[in-house]
């Protein structure tokens, strides 16, 4: 898949102040960290799943000062997980006539992007991605492709998650919050938003990125039953991002094969002064293989249940001073995505 680059001119986040990881691997957010009435207004938002509250709030921050966008690519894994479970319980325990008509439309996960589009008149297109763990990073790739093809001059790249239903797998590692990035083609950047700026908000923050940061992403698949292919696939993806010269002479970085076997894992030997690497990984076989390939050179962040954390790391990388960052994530199902993020100061 292509790794076309795009420019990020604004980024906004709505996140719990301190998501906590317990020793048993569970993750929780401080109770009451978000009040939709404070963030969105006293009326009109009651009948929305929490993930939409976070998403709409982040979008308001990102689109402040009259910034306009034509469409949105949204990644989510658990935006409506709790709603689906509640609907199932209502039907099983009572009757479908008991379902809330106001919430019923949100049985479709696509309605999250649809609500955002109607709120901000995003009349171009809206697309929802649900690939496990990587949907947020995948949204960068899809948006870059759309921008490169001229389908829009400005798009939102977003990820939103809410606590999954307690009965769902991974519910003890649920994510809450949203990230929204404003993206433009590299050749069509309005730098009028110069100056990094943060807006005050009880749960959200946004920043206009002076001159814009750049971002490109690639996705690939590693069969869970053949995780030894992860190193090769990652090498190819990073070559596509320009992080590796593909083995040509004169390169300053390279991959080492493990024992010379064709299918063996590779180890990444980064060039001096190369980008820092942030890997959002779980303990699945695919993730373990990738961690091994990185050979301790990545800052590994424990993966939560959704696709939010990788895009949170992209937002953090965009706000960095000068250093480029590679963000990487993988799912147990074999989905892998990686993004190269260059903050405004390093473009």
């Amino acid at each position: 898949m292509s790794g076309a680059a795009l420019m990020i001119t604004r980024c906004a986040t709505v996140l719990p102040p301190e998501p906590r990881w317990a020793r048993d691997g569970t993750r929780t957010s401080p109770p009451g960290w978000f009040d939709y009435k404070t963030e969105l207004g006293p009326r009109g938002y009651k009948y929305l799943p929490p993930a939409l509250h976070y998403l709409l709030t982040a979008a308001r921050h990102a689109l402040a000062d009259g910034v306009g966008a034509a469409g949105v690519v949204l990644g989510t894994n658990s935006a409506v997980s709790a709603l689906h479970a509640a609907m199932d319980r209502t039907v099983v325990q009572s009757h479908s006539a008991e379902l809330s008509p106001m919430l019923a439309p949100y049985f479709s996960v696509n309605l999250a992007a649809g609500k955002l589009a109607s709120e901000h008149r995003l009349t171009g297109f809206q697309l929802t991605l649900t690939s496990p763990r990587i949907a947020g990073l995948e949204a960068i790739q899809v948006a870059a492709r759309a921008l490169a093809m001229g389908r829009a001059s400005c798009l939102l790249i977003a990820a939103t998650e809410a606590a999954p239903d307690p009965a769902e797998p991974g519910a003890d590692r649920g994510e809450e919050g949203a990230v929204v990035l404003v993206a433009r083609p590299l050749s069509n950047v309005d730098a009028s938003g110069a100056g990094v700026r943060s807006t005050a908000g009880s749960a959200g923050s946004s920043a206009a990125l002076s001159g814009g940061g750049t971002c490109r992403a690639r996705t690939f698949f590693v069969p869970p039953d053949a995780p030894h292919r992860a190193g090769e696939a990652l090498a190819a993806a990073w070559a596509g991002l320009g992080l590796w010269d593909g083995g040509s002479a004169g390169g300053t970085s390279k991959w080492l094969r493990d024992g010379g076997s064709a299918g063996g894992i590779s180890k990444w030997l980064p060039p001096d002064g190369g980008p820092r690497i942030v890997a959002v990984l779980d303990d699945s076989p695919v993730a373990r293989r990738i961690a091994a390939a990185l050979d301790g050179r990545a800052r590994v962040i424990p993966a939560a249940a959704g696709c939010l954390e990788p895009l949170v790391q992209v937002a953090a990388a965009l706000r960095a001073e000068r250093e480029a960052t590679v963000v990487l994530s993988a799912s147990a199902e074999g989905n892998v995505a990686t993004a190269l993020v260059t903050p405004p100061g390093a473009v």
């Binding site: 009326r43 009109g44 009651k46 009948y47 006539a97 008991e98 379902l99 809330s100 008509p101 106001m102």
Partner: protein, 88 residues
């Protein structure tokens, strides 16, 4: 015998409707128009119906909904329904 009007407490009904409509209780006056004054659309009308049926254990027919344009009308219809059920 206690009248249906006292069984069906107007203030409780007002609070239930205000909660469903996500407005202040004071905004739900006896004669406030549900559509013109409180912004109720067709989907919200269905939400109100579901909550009223569950709260008061009655069945509201779709054909009866157009006449329910105020809280007072809603109270009258519900009182009538409750009385019919008590007779049955």
């Amino acid at each position: 015998m206690e009248s249906t009007a006292t069984v069906l407490d107007m203030e409780k009904l007002r609070a239930v409707v205000a909660e469903v409509l996500d407005v202040e209780v004071d905004a739900v006056t006896d004669d406030a128009h549900l559509v013109d004054d409180l912004g109720v659309d067709s989907l919200m009308a269905l939400e109100v119906t579901v909550v009223l049926e569950r709260t008061y254990q009655v069945k509201l027919d779709e054909s009866e909904l157009p006449q329910v344009i105020t809280l007072r009308k809603m109270h009258e219809l519900l009182a009538q329904k409750i009385q019919q059920q008590s007779v049955v």
